[in-house]
Amino acid sequence: MGQLVLDKISKRYGTSSEVIKPLDLTVNNGEFVVVVGPSGCGKSTLLRMVAGLEEISDGEMRIDGVCVNDDSPSERGIGMVFQSYALYPHMTVYQNMAFALEMAKLPPTEIDKKVQASARILQLEHLLDRRPKDLSGGQRQRVAIGRAIVREPSLFLFDEPLSNLDASLRVQMRMEIAALHKRINATILYVTHDQVEAMTLADRIVVLNQGQIEQVGSPLELYDHPANLFVAQFIGSPKMNLIAGTIAETGERETVVDLENRQRIVLPVDTLGGKIGDSVWLGIRPEHVQLIDLAAADVEGEVLFVEQMGNETLLYVNSGYGSEPLVIRLTSRLEIAPDQRVGLRLPTESCYLFEVDGRAFGRI
């Protein structure tokens, strides 16, 4: 049960331009797919289209091979968890969970059996008689999930379910959702703007930007082989550093790049698609930049700020490349003062290379 296919679906409001551009996506049975993107990228609209709360302007949506474009939300066999939980405040937890089953006109004994079963899965048994206002944030979230699973839907939709929780609870609920996914082997489509949630929960991540899919892939695939500059900068925190340069020599296994300051660097990147003299962006993640002696440095610069987190140290270094400082993330603790000159090494195997229009060159 539970394969979702989106076949060139798009969304348009009136005659204005498309909010969601024609988009293909398949969520396989039992798969956990997370849609991430900056706010306003259309990810919630996409989820609401799948839920049936928003009409699909064009294209076809199929669940288990059946076109459901014209079905109402309840007919699609989906369960949805809302950002604000959206629990019925005047009903007890039990009534909240039973409501959908009542609407489906199930006999009371059956309803009771299903509610009890779902409550057991989510450890809500002792809360069944309470009202939402007497529950903590995490408990409310569990009830919201319970309300979705009680109908045994073929597809679960989560709309930023953790963004209302505080940080520690968020980590806990994240694990609970992951465990739940394993236990009931559900097909899940999950929307968030938090890349940590995406990286930790997803089997596959969909990066959405301006109503368009930028890349689909496993978390590490996106981290190691971003398709373009947008994905590279969106995945990973702090975001990837960029240095402008030009191609000095193209190659299938090795590429020579001249950086802004005439520094020459040889990268294991396939640039057969490019030409000598093309402008490029060299990307390197903060965690890959190394701190070394000034004498042996690829790049040197002046420390602007230091952020001590205890477990890691972030350095902001003014290297003279572009207007933004380079960010360096060190797992060791380091006593370093602002204004100090430091030497940096950019390990070539950790560098990324992008064309000016954003497309990534293949890394070896």
């Binding site: 839920a51 049936g52 709360l53 109402s72 939300p73 309840s74 989906i78 369960g79 949805m80 809302f82 950002q83 604000s84 959206a86 629990l87 019925y88 405040p89 005047h90 409501f99 959908a100 609407m103 489906a104 309300r147 109908r151």
Partner: protein, 281 residues
């Protein structure tokens, strides 16, 4: 001389409590005097005494039985209840549409409703009379239900729309995903959440219908169809020159009691209705 903190606090409380006492006296005195008067007969009525001096229940018997207030009470209850029923039914559904269903001219319609609720009664009396005649409702309780509903609806719709707007859209969407149809959503999800607002507006509509005088006087001529306010004004004494203050006051007390009882019953609801939605949470 500088006062201590304690003295200042005492001074504050003195001001607050004496202010409250004056306000309460001002509000309650007329009613108290009505009760007092209703328990007196003959010359006692015209003595300026502020404490009860004897209990004569005779006035109540005269008012309820001889003057037929009992019948008028029934009429009033009937008219007010039906008015409230229709009002709530129409305004809940109307406010759902105004708050939730996007359609052209929604703002304009809402604004019109607000304007209509500011019309004075006299201004529409003639028009309303024509309407009542046209519908064949003249001299029937239906005329009153119609006119009271017309006058209560704008206010109830406006208040309920405001409340309805404060209910998160996600709640409605959750119900849609759960498979509820519009009417079920209104009945099972919105109405219970709106309960405080429903009670408050319903009560105000009830009081409005209960107290209304002009329409009741204009549209009804038969004695057995009068509502209480008109019936009281038609009281006659033993002679043309005597105003039967005792029984008038007795009737007034009887008429006020149901409202007080209602308010006391729903007191908690009203308070939460008037304040909820004002602040978050």
């Amino acid at each position: 001389m500088k006062t201590t903190r304690r003295q200042r606090k005492f001074g504050h409380q003195l001001v607050i409590y004496s202010g409250a006492t004056v306000a309460v006296m001002f509000c309650v005195f007329p009613f108290y005097y009505a009760i007092l008067t209703s328990l007196r007969t003959g010359q006692e009525l015209f003595l300026p005494a502020y404490l009860p001096n004897g209990y004569h229940w005779h006035n109540y018997v005269v008012a309820l039985v001889d003057n037929g207030i009992a019948r008028s009470l029934l009429n009033s209850v009937l008219v007010a209840t039906i008015t409230v029923g229709i009002c709530l039914l129409v305004s809940v559904t109307a406010s759902f549409a105004l708050a939730r269903v996007p359609f052209r001219g929604r703002k304009f319609l809402l604004f019109t409703i607000l304007c209509v609720s500011m019309f004075p009664q006299v201004a529409v009396l003639t028009g309303m009379f024509e309407l009542v005649r046209f519908l064949g409702l003249y001299d029937s309780l239906g005329a009153l239900v119609l006119s009271y509903t017309t006058f209560s609806l704008p206010f109830t719709v406006w208040v309920l729309t405001t409340f309805m707007k404060s209910i998160p859209v996600e709640l409605e969407e959750a119900a849609i995903v759960d498979g509820a149809k519009t009417w079920t959503i209104i009945r099972r999800v919105f109405a219970p959440i709106l309960a405080p607002a429903l009670v408050t507006t319903g009560l105000l509509a009830f009081i409005g219908a209960w107290n209304e005088f002009m329409f009741a006087l204009t549209f009804i001529i038969s004695g057995d169809k009068r509502t209480v306010p008109v019936a009281i004004s038609m009281f006659s004494g033993a002679s043309t020159f005597e105003l039967p203050w005792g029984s008038i006051m007795a009737a007034s007390v009887v008429v006020t009691l149901p409202i007080i009882v209602l308010v006391l019953i729903f007191q908690k609801r009203i308070v939460s209705g008037l304040t909820s939605g004002a602040i978050k949470g």
